[in-house]
């Protein structure tokens, strides 16, 4: 089976950089900041692949570069180096050349791919939603970007998605800032799924929610993921989330992938000392 997503040598550096950066940072040096030039390597030489219908977990401590990776894949900002390939078919969107490095495309093309093929859910609903626009409008924005020009139909689709994500549908025209945290996350999920994406990126979706709401949101994500079969990348520092959702996991530390394998294997039999520490330190 061919991967639908391939990332090679993904690197993001903040700062000018110097020839020593790569040698003086990373797990062996227990830092991602170059001691010489003070540049920060948020992620460095990250390689991984994602297969159709698969759920991949990215786990690591705060500052390990896991969010940077998914946000680079979402074209939120430019990488310093790296290649990104997508092999996606269907959903009626323009085809993507599997040999085309997407980071080399124009901003216009990247925006189009992002809107038609990807959905993202951020940790903070403020990043993913417009708080001054109704919940339905937030979902409609992606449909409008994709060329939707029928208000009634777009609102119906928004209502349908809100029902799917268990948000009370009568609140479709209300502002998300009047919603609870769990509901805001659900609206974000509805927005992410509105254009039937082939790739779903979840960036710490349940962090900051209380435990019972976390369980319901995770349950929802799992059932939607199984129903739609959308390939998903889950970023979390919470091993419970990784255990519940993912089939394969990569462990990141100081901007590098230190271990990669099946989720069960990683959680039951961690090889890398850092992963062992992570697994042992759960409450």
């Amino acid at each position: 089976m061919k991967p639908i997503l391939q990332v090679r040598n993904l690197t993001k550096r903040y700062g000018k950089g110097c020839p020593d950066c790569l040698e003086r940072t990373g797990p062996p040096h227990a830092t991602n900041q170059c001691p010489r030039c003070r540049s920060v390597l948020a992620c460095r030489a990250v390689d991984f692949a994602l297969y159709p219908g698969e759920v991949l977990g990215i786990v690591g401590e705060s500052g390990s570069g896991k969010s940077t990776v998914v946000r680079l894949l979402h074209f939120d900002f430019e990488p310093t180096a790296g290649d990104f390939f997508l092999r996606l078919n269907g959903n009626g969107a323009a085809p993507i050349d599997p040999a085309q490095n997407l980071f080399a495309l124009s901003a216009f093309q990247r925006r189009q791919i992002r809107n038609e093929r990807m959905g993202i859910v951020y940790q903070s609903a403020r990043m993913g939603l417009r708080m001054k626009v109704s919940a339905g409008g937030n979902i409609a924005e992606r449909l409008l970007m994709a060329g939707g020009r029928h208000v009634g139909r777009m609102r119906d689709r928004a209502t349908e998605l809100l029902a799917q994500t268990e948000v009370p549908v009568q609140r479709v025209d209300e502002l998300p800032r009047t919603f609870s945290g769990g509901m805001q996350q659900r609206v974000q999920i509805a927005k992410a799924l509105s254009t039937r994406p082939a790739l779903l990126l979840l960036d710490e979706v349940t962090t900051g929610l209380d435990v019972s709401v976390q369980a319901r949101v995770l349950d929802l994500i799992r059932s939607l993921q199984q129903e739609l079969g959308v390939a998903t990348i889950v970023v979390s520092h919470d091993l419970g989330v990784i255990r519940l959702l993912t089939s394969r996991t990569v462990v990141m530390r100081h901007g590098c992938i230190v271990e990669e394998g099946l989720s069960d294997q990683i959680l039951e039999d961690p090889q890398h000392p850092y992963t062992q520490l992570l697994v042992n330190s759960t409450l």
Partner: protein
């Protein structure tokens, strides 16, 4: 269109108002110096080449305040020549303060003739209206624009709006209209209705009523827009598509006057102003385009008809 005047430096006299003769050698013809006119003309050419795209220019200090038509005035002065016939309107009226002052100034610095007759004019500078009589190919319509950026409503950052124009990313504007419909069950934008020019650029048609927006589509005359304070020129060349943003189920509609007619000339097919009678408190309606209204009265026209062309062979 302009005769290049002599470009000589001179100290303006203390009482410049009374001693400012047209083209006497101390001032460049049409107030602006030749370099300024040349720059503005080149910016206009670029604007015409990319319909609806805002072109920055070095807006000059004018002897009227920013926001009083300095943009339109600079275009007028850069275009005008001795054989031109000028008409200036302010919300349809030829005789309001803003229009009268601009006319006086242009006449003083160029000596061109002014008219109120839309058909006779070659240059028409306008604030917030398009004349009722259809414009013709030899005419140029110059709009005074307060805010040239249609996306300013949804995005305060200039950098971001430029990116949005470059990528033709107008979903935020559409979202604004969607939210309007969700809240009020109709699009409540009155003036400054956003339009798509040449199927590429979103453009602010200046605060003309929706009634006039349709007149921009495939117009015969060249339409030039200029914001003096914001330092932007843009244009709709003749025979260009200008489509107001519109949903399939909520289409663009112009103002409806419910069959009312002008109380002075009796016309029905014109944009009407509501006039409240101070004495009785009653409401009457009259044409916003005063020159058209006057002409219709002179010809005692049947309601809804357009007046015949005056002075035509």
């Amino acid at each position: 269109m302009t005769q290049p005047g002599p470009l000589r430096a001179g100290t303006p006299p203390a009482d410049w108002r009374s001693s400012l003769p047209p083209a006497d050698g101390r001032y460049s013809y049409a107030f602006l110096d030749e370099g300024a006119k040349r720059e503005i003309r080149r910016r206009m050419l670029k604007a015409v080449a990319i319909p609806g795209c805002q072109v920055p220019f070095g807006s000059r200090e004018m002897p009227i305040a920013r926001g009083w038509g300095t943009g339109g005035l600079q275009l007028t002065l850069a275009l005008i020549g001795p054989e031109d016939m000028l008409k200036v309107i302010d919300q349809g009226a030829d005789d309001s303060v803003n229009a009268v002052n601009i006319k006086k100034f242009v006449t003083r610095v160029t000596g061109v003739a002014v008219t109120t007759d839309t058909r006779a004019a070659t240059l028409i500078q306008t604030r917030h209206r398009i004349p009722e009589e259809p414009l013709r190919p030899h005419q140029v319509l110059i709009f005074q624009v307060p805010i040239p950026e249609p996306l300013r409503l949804v995005e305060p950052s200039e950098r971001e709006t430029r990116r949005m124009h470059a990528e033709a990313d107008y979903s935020r504007m559409w979202l604004y209209l969607y939210e309007d419909i969700v809240k009020f069950n109709e699009i409540t934008v009155g003036a400054r209705y956003p339009v798509m020019v040449n199927r590429r650029h979103l453009m602010d048609p200046s605060p003309i009523p929706r009634w006039d927006v349709a007149k921009l589509n495939q117009a015969e005359a060249l339409c030039l827009f200029c914001a003096g304070r914001e330092k932007r020129i843009y244009a709709v060349p003749p025979h260009t598509d200008v489509q107001p943003l519109s949903f399939e189920d909520f289409v663009f509609r112009v103002e409806a006057f419910g069959g009312r007619r002008c109380g002075r000339c009796g016309s029905t097919g014109t944009y009407l102003d509501e006039v409240i009678d101070d004495a009785t408190g009653g409401r009457t309606y009259s044409c916003s385009d005063t020159a058209f209204c006057e002409k219709a009265r002179r010809h005692h026209l049947a309601p809804g008809n357009h007046p015949p062309e005056e002075g035509a062979a």
